[in-house]
């Protein structure tokens, strides 16, 4: 079984080495593991540090957004014929030790998609992020008809079936909602796994800005209209 770990990253030199080094060396049920750092046109040392830490770096020459980086990663997973692909944020807000749990659910319970849901320490989540997340859950539900507790999570696992079937085209953060839409469209078997979130000063400053929500909604609506 081959696992592709996909880390979209933009200027994450402060956290990237820690994130890659924290990925478990051995994961039950996995015989081969590939770590892909998709460098979204970073201007800092993200690529160099990721390579040094043991990741294979895919470089997007111009900053395109987390959506494009994620799609590139999924295409790489397809290319190496991965059985499971897993996306992980590069800012260190996810605990890489939870990769094993996601992989276990896909292998044993045959889920197509496992969504890492940031609900365990919701009280630690900054209030504005919590509100933004709740609004995006509702918007995702209104647009795609599937309610999930954390539609904007970047920690997700995909089975080979999902990797092959997903048709994604979002460039930015709207990819998270688009994936939920694809789960609904393709009737994929999914599970929301509660995950811990590591909120540091650094990770709090990274990720989506609240005002970006308006932009995401506009792009999702345009996508639905233009197909």
């Amino acid at each position: 079984m081959t696992l592709a770990i996909l880390i979209p990253a933009y200027n994450e030199e402060e956290a990237i080495t820690r994130v890659i080094k924290a990925i478990p060396k051995k994961i039950a049920g996995i015989s081969k593991k590939a770590i892909f750092l998709i460098d979204d046109g970073s201007s800092d040392q993200t690529s160099q540090l990721a390579r040094k830490a043991g990741a294979e770096v895919l470089t997007l020459p111009i900053n395109q957004g987390v959506g494009t980086a994620t799609i590139t990663g999924i295409e790489a997973a397809k290319f190496i014929d991965a059985d499971i692909a897993l996306t992980l944020d590069g800012d260190g807000q996810h605990d890489p030790r939870e990769i094993s749990k996601i992989v276990g659910l896909i292998l044993k319970k045959k889920y197509d998609v496992v969504i890492g849901s940031r609900i365990i320490n919701r009280n630690l989540m900054p209030k504005y992020k919590l509100a933004g997340n709740f609004i995006m859950n509702w918007i995702t539900f209104a647009l795609y008809g599937l309610w999930v507790k954390d539609s904007q999570s970047g920690f997700k696992g995909f089975s080979k079936n999902a990797i092959q079937k997903l048709q994604l085209s979002s460039q930015g953060y709207e990819i998270c909602s688009e994936i939920i839409g694809e789960i609904q469209r393709l009737k994929l078997k999914y599970f929301e796994m509660p995950i811990k979130t590591i909120y540091t000063k650094y990770s709090k400053n990274k990720g989506q800005f609240s005002l970006n929500g308006v932009n995401i909604v506009l792009k999702l609506i345009i996508k639905l209209i233009s197909g």
Partner: protein, 115 residues
């Protein structure tokens, strides 16, 4: 009316300054700079002296057109231009995105071939 004048002045000046900055950074040629300066200069002038439109129509000898018709035609034209720009920008964005993804994956494919 004062609001319209202020908005036209601010937007016009922003565009003119941006055009000059682009020219200084060698991202725009002189012809385009002149074009935008004339277009926005005229826009600001019309915002401050709207009666000029009526005078121009009168001089052209056709008094059947009203200001409303002229503005309406202009609005339709601007909507058409916006649509064209949206279609072209969207197409370019998709093509660029596809190309960038291809470049990123080429590295991986070449590495696998070497191995």
């Amino acid at each position: 009316m004062l609001f319209t004048k202020i908005v036209a002045l601010i937007i016009g000046l922003v565009v003119i300054v941006k055009t000059f900055t682009d020219y200084r950074n060698k991202e725009e040629n002189l012809q385009m700079v002149l074009f935008w300066v004339i277009v926005w200069g005229l826009t600001i002038y019309v915002a401050f002296f709207p009666t000029v439109i009526g005078e121009v129509i009168a001089r052209l000898g056709n008094k059947n057109y009203t200001i409303g018709q002229i503005v309406g035609t202009g609005f339709v034209f601007i909507l058409f231009i916006t649509y064209r720009i949206y279609v072209k920008a969207n197409r370019l964005e998709k093509q660029l995105n596809h190309l960038i993804r291809k470049i990123a994956l080429n590295g991986l494919k070449n590495n696998k071939k070497k191995k």
